[in-house]
Amino acid sequence: MLQTSLKHILTEQDFQDTLRSNENVMICCGRMGPMCIPVYEVMDELQGDYDHVAFRDMEFDGPIGHLIRTLPECKSFRGLPFTVYFKNGKVVRATTSIQTKDQVTEILDAEYAARAAK
């Protein structure tokens, strides 16, 4: 299990339930490596500001890592982590390798409209 403070997706059922019960879902699929940890930290920081988005992580090498690894949107990816943004269960954006807070925020604002009032 990833050592992050994010909610982990551990089973295929969990994955399907998360997509079904949340309109906006961001999943970071990676390892506890140098390119992945900064993305988990950014997600953790943004959770409070984007309460209309479900932030989750998933082990790249775990039993359900293939659910992200084999997405057509990730076909050309060769850098961890694979970060995928879902809206109503459909992939709307995917990024590969390390991302900054600004890059993540830009996608969240573009794909998930206005952030929730705080």
């Binding site: 390892r31 506890m32 490596g33 140098p34 390119m35 992945c36 940890i37 900064p38 930290e41 950014v42 920081e45 076909k75 050309s76 990816f77 060769r78 850098g79 961890l80 990024t95 590969t96 390798s97 390390i98 900054t100 807070k101």
Partner: protein
């Protein structure tokens, strides 16, 4: 020290939360200084980019992430406030009280500042590099090496990281070609010997990659021979870039003294040329960049800043009398 009650007023502001900045935070917090640590990226800096640290005295083996997390916890426990992923948008280092604005909206002030912004991996900055980052271009062999099983890859660089990572990448790749701009390597002799002895590794010297090309993912590169000027195109599956680090000091050009490499010039107390401004860690002018040297810098800068604050306080009392 005395506090005016303004929540944005501190005794010391540390810019950077790598090992130098966090160590400064630990010492300052423990000395009961109101301390704010600001960091543009995630806490830990380059430290979290290290998978395993086996030469930190007193700790046999630990991941960079764990060590950084422990340092952060220590600094917080001693009362230090840490704000990560914020952008320093303006600052004034002159005068007795210095100000730092973050995210264009919040301003903090303190009589002492410690600059510990660290460094970042140097990029080639050639066409295609941004486009193919994570799609064939990588800066981390341990992270992405296994995407290149039985593939042909290039490693750019000639220092210890480049040669050591080239050897480690031969576990996955069919072939590894090292492209280096000089006619000899800057790495330690043992690293050069190990690379030269590896049958999967070949070398293109006095050359540099000038462009990355592909369709959705990296497929080829252009390589320029720096002696003849000849440019050749080479089909390739991946490129790993290890060409050193650059200090994160761009914002401070003209505000504190930097050397020609952009490193902050300091004295043995880690004072910069601006009174009340200190610097520590990988962004300062020094020869060796290790976690241990960054930690030592953080300690020295914090103790120097505390000395400065005592003088500042004495001056304020004298003026008040």
């Amino acid at each position: 020290m005395t506090w005016d009650g303004n929540p944005n007023t501190y005794d010391v502001i540390v810019v950077g939360a790598g090992p130098a900045g966090l160590t400064a935070g630990i010492y300052l917090g423990r000395a009961k200084m109101r301390t704010l640590v600001l960091n543009e990226g995630p806490v830990g800096g380059q430290l979290v980019l290290t998978h395993e640290i086996a030469n930190y005295p007193g700790v046999e083996s630990i991941s960079g992430y764990q060590l950084a997390a422990t340092m952060k916890k220590q600094a917080s426990t001693f009362g230090c406030t840490i704000r990560s992923n914020v952008a320093v948008t303006n600052f004034d280092l002159d005068g007795e009280v210095k100000t730092i604005e973050v995210n264009g909206k919040e301003t903090f002030c303190a009589p002492a500042i410690i600059l510990a912004m660290g460094g970042r991996s140097r990029m080639l900055s050639v066409p295609g590099e941004q486009e193919f980052k994570g799609k064939g271009i990588s800066y981390c062999a341990t992270c992405d090496g296994d995407f290149f099983q039985d593939k042909d890859i290039i490693v750019v660089g000639g220092g210890n990281s480049a040669l050591e990572e080239a050897v480690s990448l031969t576990k996955y790749a069919r072939s590894v070609t090292i492209v280096h701009q000089f006619d000899e390597f800057q790495a330690f002799a043992h690293a050069i010997e190990e690379a030269r002895a590896n049958a999967k590794i070949s070398f293109i010297m006095q050359s540099t990659v000038t462009e990355f090309m592909g369709n959705g993912f990296l497929q080829s590169v252009k390589i320029r021979n720096l002696v003849s000027g000849e440019i050749t195109e080479r089909a390739i599956d991946g490129v790993f870039i290890f060409i050193g680090y650059v200090p994160n000091t761009e914002k401070f050009v003209g505000r504190v003294q930097l050397n020609s490499g952009g490193e902050v010039v300091v004295n043995s107390s880690l004072e910069t040329n601006v009174q009340g401004v200190y610097a520590a860690g990988d962004s300062i002018q020094k020869k060796y960049r290790q976690v241990t040297t960054a930690v030592a810098d953080g300690t020295i800068a914090a103790l120097s800043a505390i000395g400065h604050l005592h003088n500042h306080r004495a001056n304020q009392l004298e003026k008040a009398l």
